[in-house]
């Protein structure tokens, strides 16, 4: 009788379900779980914000307090890992954490605040202090001065260099 054989085969295999909420469960090495921003590494460049398909990552400049906020809202996250791929500083990573239920909506946010950098010529904020530092460090000596200017001022200042270059 086939129907009995099926049940016997089942009995041979024994219980397979887990006692999950009462006992922890194994997750694989590369599980794509909750993304976390390392506030020490983040420079506020916004690469992750551009890459994020569902707008879980957003960026807001607050001129009043002179701060840039990178806001991560887990409620919208689809765990695709595009942000991790895009981040030039390895500041945002997907962890293996997957138990993300929260009692308050606020618990689903992570906000990183970074000081805005103002252009020394026009005084307009255009990037963060940390990012400009890293850019300057990475550049050769002679290009550093231009890099500290906002794009518009840089254009007017470096216009004559470029006119040379064209020739």
């Amino acid at each position: 009788m086939n129907r009995i054989k099926v049940l016997l085969e089942n009995l041979r295999r024994g219980v397979v379900t887990e006692q999950y909420p009462f006992k922890p469960i194994r997750v694989p090495e590369r599980l794509r779980g909750k993304p976390v921003i390392d506030p020490d590494k983040c420079a506020g460049c916004g690469a992750c914000v551009n890459a994020c398909p569902p707008n879980a990552l957003t960026m807001r400049d607050d001129k009043h307090s002179s701060m840039r906020f990178i806001v991560l809202f887990i409620g919208r996250c689809i765990y695709c890992g595009k942000c991790e791929e895009a981040c030039p500083f390895g500041a945002i990573r997907l962890t293996r954490e997957f138990e993300l239920a929260a009692e308050n909506r606020e618990d689903l946010y992570q906000v990183v605040g970074l000081r805005l950098y103002h252009c020394p010529l026009c005084g307009e904020p255009f990037t963060t202090v940390r990012l400009i530092k890293r850019v300057v460090e990475a550049l050769p000596e002679e290009q550093r001065a231009a890099a500290t200017l906002c794009p518009r001022c840089r254009e007017s200042v470096t216009a004559h260099y470029r006119s040379y270059a064209r020739r």
Partner: protein, 297 residues
């Protein structure tokens, strides 16, 4: 002695009321293990019942009196049966009840719920109860044949006289008991004959319009009905003896239920037309058995 019999009856009824849902809990555990699952606690059916019984019964529209009362009439019917059927204690209300009353109360308890459900007007409820009624009509015919056989064998319709039927060991009685086992299984509405509720097809069928306390009583009644039917089968087999009933009866009760569960786990659901065919075949078998009894075997 009347008061002692009354006490026995009350104790028996309490036993049936308590043990019905417990058996269901055990069955759920067994079924889970046969499907590689851990399964819920064996008290789970009781937890469900307690929760349901504490909830108000939400009824849609303007429910008819029939709809509201039928569940409770059915429950009381079963309660009466459990008073006079010997279960854990060998005794009862002096066995004034006879076989016909037993069958009448048991089946009417179901019919009341089905009529009440039908009166709700929900298409699922009406299809579910129609299916259930046609199946139990068919199986009740077989049951009547079995009663006739028992009455023939023991020349009486009094419960106190027919228990246990095994006192006369004839081939016809043995076959009759076998058929009764199958009928009890069908009346339990177990797969493949669980077609009145049919969750994936009818979303609960005849129970669909009931909620809260009403639903709780339906579920409780179902476990009680199952226990009573099995009790009846056991009563026909084991001697009317205090010790037998105190020790052998519960063991048999649980083992029959577990065997039934195991069988059920191996089956899918049959369609109403196919399942009626099966029951019809059983009724033909029973006519043969009655003939056998008439000529003295």
């Amino acid at each position: 002695m009347v008061w002692l019999n009354t006490l026995y009856g009350v104790l028996n009824a309490c036993f049936i009321l308590l043990v019905g849902p417990l058996i269901d809990g055990v069955e759920r555990k067994i079924r889970a293990r046969l499907q590689n699952r851990r399964g819920p606690s064996i008290l789970q059916t009781w937890y469900d019942l307690v929760k349901l019984l504490r909830k108000p019964a939400a009824r849609t529209g303007v429910p008819s009196t029939l709809f509201r009362l039928s569940v409770y009439i059915g429950f009381v019917n079963l309660l009466i049966v459990s008073l006079f059927i010997p279960s854990i204690l060998c005794g009862g209300m002096g066995f004034f009840g006879d076989l016909i009353l037993f069958i009448y109360l048991l089946s009417s308890s179901k019919v009341f719920v089905l009529i009440g459900s039908y009166s709700s007007g929900s298409p699922y409820a009406s299809i579910g109860s129609t299916r259930e009624v046609s199946l139990s009509m068919a199986s009740e015919l077989v049951l009547a044949e079995i009663i006739a056989l028992i009455a023939l064998s023991r020349s009486s319709l009094l419960l106190s006289n027919v228990f246990p039927v095994t006192a006369v060991l004839r081939p016809s009685v043995l076959i009759g008991l076998g058929v009764l086992g199958i009928i009890v299984y069908i009346e339990h509405s177990r797969l493949p004959f669980e077609i009145g509720e049919a969750e994936p097809e009818l979303a609960g069928g005849y129970t669909i319009e009931y909620a809260g306390r009403d639903l709780g009583f339906i579920l409780w009644s179902n476990t009680i009905r199952r226990t009573l039917l099995t009790t009846f089968l056991i009563d026909l087999i084991i001697p009317l003896d205090v010790l037998y009933h105190l020790v052998i009866y519960p063991v048999l009760l649980f083992s029959i239920m577990i065997v039934f569960t195991a069988i059920e786990t191996g089956w899918g659901r049959l369609r109403i037309d196919i399942s009626l065919k099966y029951v019809k075949r059983l009724s033909y078998v029973m006519w043969g058995v009655i003939l056998l009894a008439l000529i003295g075997y």
